[in-house]
Protein backbone atom coordinates (compact mmCIF):
# COMPACT_ATOMS: atom_id res chain seq x y z
CA UNK A 1 0.00 0.00 0.00
CA UNK A 2 2.76 2.39 0.98
CA UNK A 3 4.63 1.51 -2.22
CA UNK A 4 1.56 2.35 -4.32
CA UNK A 5 1.08 5.72 -2.59
CA UNK A 6 4.74 6.55 -3.02
CA UNK A 7 4.61 5.57 -6.69
CA UNK A 8 1.60 7.83 -7.30
CA UNK A 9 3.33 10.72 -5.55
CA UNK A 10 6.55 10.24 -7.52
CA UNK A 11 4.64 10.08 -10.84
CA UNK A 12 2.68 13.23 -9.97
CA UNK A 13 5.89 15.07 -9.08
CA UNK A 14 7.50 13.85 -12.30
CA UNK A 15 4.60 15.21 -14.35
CA UNK A 16 4.60 18.50 -12.41
CA UNK A 17 8.36 18.90 -12.87
CA UNK A 18 8.00 18.17 -16.57
CA UNK A 19 5.49 20.96 -17.18
CA UNK A 20 6.95 23.45 -14.68
CA UNK A 21 10.67 23.38 -15.44
CA UNK A 22 11.79 25.22 -18.54
CA UNK A 23 15.32 23.90 -18.91
CA UNK A 24 15.24 20.67 -20.92
CA UNK A 25 18.30 19.20 -19.18
CA UNK A 26 17.02 19.86 -15.66
CA UNK A 27 13.57 18.65 -16.65
CA UNK A 28 15.04 15.40 -17.98
CA UNK A 29 17.22 14.95 -14.87
CA UNK A 30 14.25 15.30 -12.52
CA UNK A 31 12.14 12.92 -14.59
CA UNK A 32 14.88 10.30 -14.62
CA UNK A 33 15.39 10.74 -10.86
CA UNK A 34 11.70 10.19 -10.14
CA UNK A 35 11.61 7.18 -12.48
CA UNK A 36 14.62 5.75 -10.64
CA UNK A 37 12.84 6.38 -7.33
CA UNK A 38 9.79 4.44 -8.56
CA UNK A 39 12.06 1.62 -9.70
CA UNK A 40 13.76 1.39 -6.29
CA UNK A 41 10.41 1.45 -4.47
CA UNK A 42 9.40 -1.73 -6.28
CA UNK A 43 12.88 -3.28 -6.42
CA UNK A 44 14.42 -2.59 -3.01
CA UNK A 45 16.80 -5.54 -3.34
CA UNK A 46 18.43 -3.85 -6.31
CA UNK A 47 19.12 -0.81 -4.17
CA UNK A 48 20.88 -3.12 -1.70
CA UNK A 49 23.20 -4.34 -4.45
CA UNK A 50 24.00 -0.73 -5.32
CA UNK A 51 24.49 0.12 -1.64
CA UNK A 52 26.75 -2.91 -1.11
CA UNK A 53 29.06 -1.64 -3.83
CA UNK A 54 29.67 1.35 -1.56
CA UNK A 55 29.87 -0.84 1.57
CA UNK A 56 26.42 0.23 2.90
CA UNK A 57 23.86 -2.28 4.27
CA UNK A 58 20.08 -2.57 3.56
CA UNK A 59 18.86 -0.56 6.50
CA UNK A 60 19.54 2.52 4.52
CA UNK A 61 16.64 1.80 2.14
CA UNK A 62 13.97 2.59 4.70
CA UNK A 63 15.80 5.75 5.71
CA UNK A 64 16.09 6.88 2.09
CA UNK A 65 12.41 6.35 1.43
CA UNK A 66 11.51 8.37 4.51
CA UNK A 67 13.90 11.07 3.37
CA UNK A 68 12.19 11.13 -0.02
CA UNK A 69 8.82 11.56 1.64
CA UNK A 70 10.18 14.38 3.80
CA UNK A 71 11.67 16.17 0.81
CA UNK A 72 8.48 15.82 -1.24
CA UNK A 73 6.44 17.08 1.68
CA UNK A 74 8.74 20.10 2.00
CA UNK A 75 8.41 20.82 -1.70
CA UNK A 76 4.62 20.75 -1.50
CA UNK A 77 4.69 23.11 1.50
CA UNK A 78 7.02 25.47 -0.33
CA UNK A 79 4.76 25.34 -3.40
CA UNK A 80 1.81 26.29 -1.22
CA UNK A 81 3.74 29.21 0.27
CA UNK A 82 4.69 30.41 -3.20
CA UNK A 83 1.01 30.18 -4.15
CA UNK A 84 0.03 32.32 -1.15
CA UNK A 85 2.66 34.93 -2.05
CA UNK A 86 1.54 34.90 -5.67
CA UNK A 87 -1.99 35.70 -4.54
CA UNK A 88 -0.65 38.66 -2.55
CA UNK A 89 1.28 39.91 -5.58
CA UNK A 90 -1.87 39.57 -7.67
CA UNK A 91 -3.85 41.71 -5.22
CA UNK A 92 -1.16 44.37 -5.24
CA UNK A 93 -0.84 44.42 -9.04
CA UNK A 94 -4.63 44.63 -9.39
CA UNK A 95 -4.80 47.57 -7.00
CA UNK A 96 -2.13 49.41 -8.98
CA UNK A 97 -3.86 48.71 -12.31
CA UNK A 98 -7.23 49.94 -11.01
CA UNK A 99 -5.66 53.11 -9.60
CA UNK A 100 -3.98 53.93 -12.90
CA UNK A 101 -6.90 53.27 -15.27
CA UNK A 102 -6.79 55.15 -18.58
CA UNK A 103 -10.29 56.13 -19.62
CA UNK A 104 -11.09 56.89 -23.25
CA UNK A 105 -11.23 60.51 -24.39
CA UNK A 106 -14.70 62.04 -23.82
CA UNK A 107 -15.49 62.25 -27.51
CA UNK A 108 -14.96 58.49 -27.86
CA UNK A 109 -17.81 57.69 -25.48
CA UNK A 110 -20.47 58.46 -28.12
Amino acid sequence: MFAIILTIVFIFMMAYSFVSIKSAIIRLTFCLAYLAAVFFVWNPDFSTKVANIFGIGRGLDFFMILLSVAIINSLVLVARQIHVQHMAITKLARSIALDRVKKPAENDLN
Binding site: V19, H86, A93, I96, A97, V101, L109
Partner: protein, 230 residues
Protein backbone atom coordinates in the same frame (compact mmCIF):
# COMPACT_ATOMS: atom_id res chain seq x y z
CA UNK B 1 -30.48 48.93 -27.69
CA UNK B 2 -30.86 52.18 -25.73
CA UNK B 3 -27.93 54.05 -24.31
CA UNK B 4 -29.10 53.29 -20.78
CA UNK B 5 -29.09 49.59 -21.51
CA UNK B 6 -25.69 49.91 -23.09
CA UNK B 7 -24.24 51.56 -20.03
CA UNK B 8 -25.26 48.60 -17.88
CA UNK B 9 -23.28 46.17 -20.03
CA UNK B 10 -19.52 46.04 -19.88
CA UNK B 11 -17.34 43.97 -22.17
CA UNK B 12 -14.11 42.88 -20.50
CA UNK B 13 -11.09 41.79 -22.51
CA UNK B 14 -7.82 40.40 -21.17
CA UNK B 15 -4.92 41.07 -23.50
CA UNK B 16 -1.27 40.13 -23.66
CA UNK B 17 0.82 41.20 -26.65
CA UNK B 18 -2.21 41.65 -28.90
CA UNK B 19 -1.05 44.97 -30.33
CA UNK B 20 -1.71 43.92 -33.92
CA UNK B 21 -5.35 42.94 -33.39
CA UNK B 22 -6.69 44.61 -30.23
CA UNK B 23 -7.78 47.81 -31.99
CA UNK B 24 -9.93 45.82 -34.44
CA UNK B 25 -11.38 43.73 -31.62
CA UNK B 26 -12.27 46.78 -29.53
CA UNK B 27 -13.73 48.55 -32.57
CA UNK B 28 -15.87 45.54 -33.47
CA UNK B 29 -17.28 45.44 -29.93
CA UNK B 30 -17.78 49.23 -29.72
CA UNK B 31 -19.89 49.07 -32.87
CA UNK B 32 -22.53 47.49 -30.59
CA UNK B 33 -21.64 48.45 -27.02
CA UNK B 34 -19.92 51.52 -25.63
CA UNK B 35 -18.35 50.17 -22.48
CA UNK B 36 -15.24 48.14 -23.18
CA UNK B 37 -12.44 47.62 -20.69
CA UNK B 38 -9.17 46.02 -21.68
CA UNK B 39 -6.78 44.74 -19.05
CA UNK B 40 -3.28 44.72 -20.48
CA UNK B 41 -1.34 41.96 -18.74
CA UNK B 42 2.06 43.69 -18.91
CA UNK B 43 2.43 43.41 -22.68
CA UNK B 44 5.75 44.29 -24.26
CA UNK B 45 4.12 45.71 -27.39
CA UNK B 46 1.65 48.55 -27.94
CA UNK B 47 -1.45 46.66 -26.75
CA UNK B 48 -2.42 49.25 -24.13
CA UNK B 49 -1.96 52.21 -26.48
CA UNK B 50 -3.84 50.55 -29.33
CA UNK B 51 -6.73 49.58 -27.06
CA UNK B 52 -6.96 53.10 -25.62
CA UNK B 53 -6.85 54.69 -29.05
CA UNK B 54 -9.71 52.40 -30.13
CA UNK B 55 -11.86 53.75 -27.30
CA UNK B 56 -11.46 51.23 -24.49
CA UNK B 57 -10.89 51.86 -20.80
CA UNK B 58 -7.44 50.40 -20.20
CA UNK B 59 -6.03 48.84 -17.06
CA UNK B 60 -2.38 47.79 -17.05
CA UNK B 61 -0.88 45.16 -14.78
CA UNK B 62 2.65 46.13 -13.68
CA UNK B 63 3.67 42.45 -13.90
CA UNK B 64 2.41 39.59 -16.02
CA UNK B 65 -0.09 37.55 -14.04
CA UNK B 66 -2.10 35.55 -16.56
CA UNK B 67 -5.42 35.68 -18.36
CA UNK B 68 -7.48 34.74 -15.32
CA UNK B 69 -5.99 37.55 -13.28
CA UNK B 70 -6.43 40.07 -16.12
CA UNK B 71 -10.08 39.13 -16.54
CA UNK B 72 -10.70 39.51 -12.81
CA UNK B 73 -9.07 42.94 -12.76
CA UNK B 74 -11.28 44.06 -15.65
CA UNK B 75 -14.40 42.56 -14.02
CA UNK B 76 -13.61 44.37 -10.76
CA UNK B 77 -13.38 47.64 -12.68
CA UNK B 78 -16.64 46.97 -14.54
CA UNK B 79 -18.47 46.29 -11.27
CA UNK B 80 -17.15 49.55 -9.83
CA UNK B 81 -18.58 51.34 -12.88
CA UNK B 82 -22.01 49.90 -12.11
CA UNK B 83 -22.16 47.06 -14.62
CA UNK B 84 -25.27 44.90 -14.45
CA UNK B 85 -23.87 42.42 -16.96
CA UNK B 86 -20.27 41.59 -17.75
CA UNK B 87 -19.27 39.95 -21.01
CA UNK B 88 -15.88 38.20 -21.19
CA UNK B 89 -14.53 38.42 -24.73
CA UNK B 90 -11.27 37.25 -26.30
CA UNK B 91 -8.74 39.78 -27.53
CA UNK B 92 -7.50 37.87 -30.56
CA UNK B 93 -10.54 38.22 -32.82
CA UNK B 94 -11.83 34.67 -32.41
CA UNK B 95 -15.19 35.84 -31.09
CA UNK B 96 -17.93 37.61 -33.01
CA UNK B 97 -19.16 40.84 -31.41
CA UNK B 98 -22.52 40.59 -33.21
CA UNK B 99 -23.33 37.59 -30.98
CA UNK B 100 -23.10 39.56 -27.71
CA UNK B 101 -26.56 41.14 -27.93
CA UNK B 102 -28.51 37.93 -28.69
CA UNK B 103 -26.56 36.06 -25.99
CA UNK B 104 -27.36 38.78 -23.50
CA UNK B 105 -31.03 38.71 -24.52
CA UNK B 106 -31.13 34.93 -24.08
CA UNK B 107 -29.62 35.24 -20.60
CA UNK B 108 -32.10 37.93 -19.55
CA UNK B 109 -35.01 35.88 -20.84
CA UNK B 110 -33.85 32.72 -19.07
CA UNK B 111 -33.45 34.37 -15.68
CA UNK B 112 -30.14 32.60 -15.22
CA UNK B 113 -26.96 34.25 -13.92
CA UNK B 114 -24.48 32.96 -16.46
CA UNK B 115 -24.51 32.37 -20.21
CA UNK B 116 -21.66 30.18 -21.46
CA UNK B 117 -20.75 30.28 -25.12
CA UNK B 118 -20.44 26.96 -26.92
CA UNK B 119 -18.80 26.46 -30.28
CA UNK B 120 -20.27 22.96 -30.49
CA UNK B 121 -23.89 24.08 -30.55
CA UNK B 122 -23.24 25.54 -33.97
CA UNK B 123 -21.30 24.35 -36.99
CA UNK B 124 -19.91 27.83 -37.58
CA UNK B 125 -16.37 27.07 -36.31
CA UNK B 126 -13.33 25.95 -38.30
CA UNK B 127 -11.87 24.08 -35.34
CA UNK B 128 -8.68 22.14 -36.08
CA UNK B 129 -8.72 18.41 -35.36
CA UNK B 130 -5.99 18.46 -32.67
CA UNK B 131 -7.83 21.18 -30.77
CA UNK B 132 -11.05 19.12 -30.99
CA UNK B 133 -9.31 16.17 -29.34
CA UNK B 134 -7.87 18.25 -26.50
CA UNK B 135 -11.21 19.94 -25.88
CA UNK B 136 -12.88 16.54 -25.84
CA UNK B 137 -10.50 15.39 -23.11
CA UNK B 138 -11.11 18.59 -21.16
CA UNK B 139 -14.86 18.05 -21.50
CA UNK B 140 -14.56 14.54 -20.04
CA UNK B 141 -12.36 15.75 -17.16
CA UNK B 142 -14.81 18.54 -16.31
CA UNK B 143 -17.82 16.24 -16.37
CA UNK B 144 -16.08 13.79 -14.03
CA UNK B 145 -14.71 16.32 -11.55
CA UNK B 146 -17.23 19.16 -11.58
CA UNK B 147 -20.41 17.23 -12.36
CA UNK B 148 -21.44 19.92 -14.82
CA UNK B 149 -22.88 18.96 -18.19
CA UNK B 150 -21.63 21.26 -20.94
CA UNK B 151 -20.81 20.94 -24.60
CA UNK B 152 -17.88 23.38 -24.49
CA UNK B 153 -15.75 23.71 -21.33
CA UNK B 154 -13.08 26.06 -22.60
CA UNK B 155 -14.83 28.99 -24.22
CA UNK B 156 -13.91 32.52 -23.19
CA UNK B 157 -17.17 34.03 -24.45
CA UNK B 158 -19.47 34.39 -21.44
CA UNK B 159 -22.12 36.73 -20.10
CA UNK B 160 -22.13 37.07 -16.32
CA UNK B 161 -24.69 38.83 -14.15
CA UNK B 162 -23.62 41.37 -11.57
CA UNK B 163 -24.86 39.04 -8.83
CA UNK B 164 -22.61 36.25 -10.11
CA UNK B 165 -19.59 38.55 -10.37
CA UNK B 166 -20.12 39.72 -6.80
CA UNK B 167 -20.19 36.15 -5.52
CA UNK B 168 -17.36 34.71 -7.62
CA UNK B 169 -13.78 35.84 -8.14
CA UNK B 170 -11.17 34.23 -10.36
CA UNK B 171 -8.39 32.96 -8.08
CA UNK B 172 -6.61 30.99 -10.79
CA UNK B 173 -4.39 33.51 -12.55
CA UNK B 174 -3.51 31.50 -15.60
CA UNK B 175 -5.40 29.14 -17.91
CA UNK B 176 -6.98 27.05 -15.13
CA UNK B 177 -9.41 29.95 -14.57
CA UNK B 178 -11.61 28.53 -17.33
CA UNK B 179 -12.14 25.36 -15.29
CA UNK B 180 -12.33 27.25 -12.01
CA UNK B 181 -15.47 29.14 -13.01
CA UNK B 182 -17.18 25.91 -14.08
CA UNK B 183 -16.32 24.25 -10.76
CA UNK B 184 -17.88 27.19 -8.93
CA UNK B 185 -21.03 27.06 -11.07
CA UNK B 186 -21.41 23.36 -10.33
CA UNK B 187 -20.57 23.58 -6.62
CA UNK B 188 -22.85 26.57 -5.92
CA UNK B 189 -25.59 25.34 -8.29
CA UNK B 190 -25.54 28.61 -10.22
CA UNK B 191 -28.24 28.84 -12.88
CA UNK B 192 -26.65 28.91 -16.31
CA UNK B 193 -27.45 28.49 -19.98
CA UNK B 194 -25.31 27.51 -22.93
CA UNK B 195 -25.54 29.65 -26.03
CA UNK B 196 -24.22 28.88 -29.53
CA UNK B 197 -21.32 31.08 -30.55
CA UNK B 198 -18.87 30.88 -33.40
CA UNK B 199 -15.11 30.70 -32.98
CA UNK B 200 -12.99 31.77 -35.92
CA UNK B 201 -9.55 30.16 -35.96
CA UNK B 202 -7.08 32.28 -37.85
CA UNK B 203 -3.39 31.65 -38.38
CA UNK B 204 -2.74 34.46 -35.88
CA UNK B 205 -5.03 33.04 -33.19
CA UNK B 206 -3.67 29.51 -33.61
CA UNK B 207 -0.09 30.73 -33.35
CA UNK B 208 -0.92 32.89 -30.35
CA UNK B 209 -3.32 30.54 -28.64
CA UNK B 210 -2.79 27.77 -26.18
CA UNK B 211 -0.65 24.79 -27.05
CA UNK B 212 -2.48 21.49 -26.64
CA UNK B 213 0.20 20.40 -24.14
CA UNK B 214 -0.99 23.20 -21.85
CA UNK B 215 -3.94 20.95 -21.00
CA UNK B 216 -1.62 18.94 -18.70
CA UNK B 217 -0.43 22.12 -17.03
CA UNK B 218 -4.03 23.25 -16.44
CA UNK B 219 -4.90 19.91 -14.80
CA UNK B 220 -1.88 20.10 -12.50
CA UNK B 221 -2.61 23.76 -11.61
CA UNK B 222 -6.12 22.76 -10.56
CA UNK B 223 -4.76 19.87 -8.47
CA UNK B 224 -2.17 22.11 -6.80
CA UNK B 225 -4.91 24.68 -6.11
CA UNK B 226 -6.97 22.00 -4.36
CA UNK B 227 -3.92 20.94 -2.33
CA UNK B 228 -3.27 24.51 -1.26
CA UNK B 229 -6.79 24.86 0.11
CA UNK B 230 -6.20 22.14 2.71
Amino acid sequence: MTLDEKYQVWIVIAAFNEGTVIADTVASVRAHFSNVVVCDDCSIDSTAEEAHAAGAHVLSHPVNLGQGAALQTAITYALRQGAEFVVTFDADGQHDATEIAPMLAALKQSGADVALGSRFLTNASNIPRTRQLVLGAALLFTRLTSRIQLTDVHNGFRVLSRKFCQEFEFKQNRMAHASEILEHIAAEKVRYIEYPVSITYTEYSMRKGQKSSNAIRVLLELLMHRLSKH
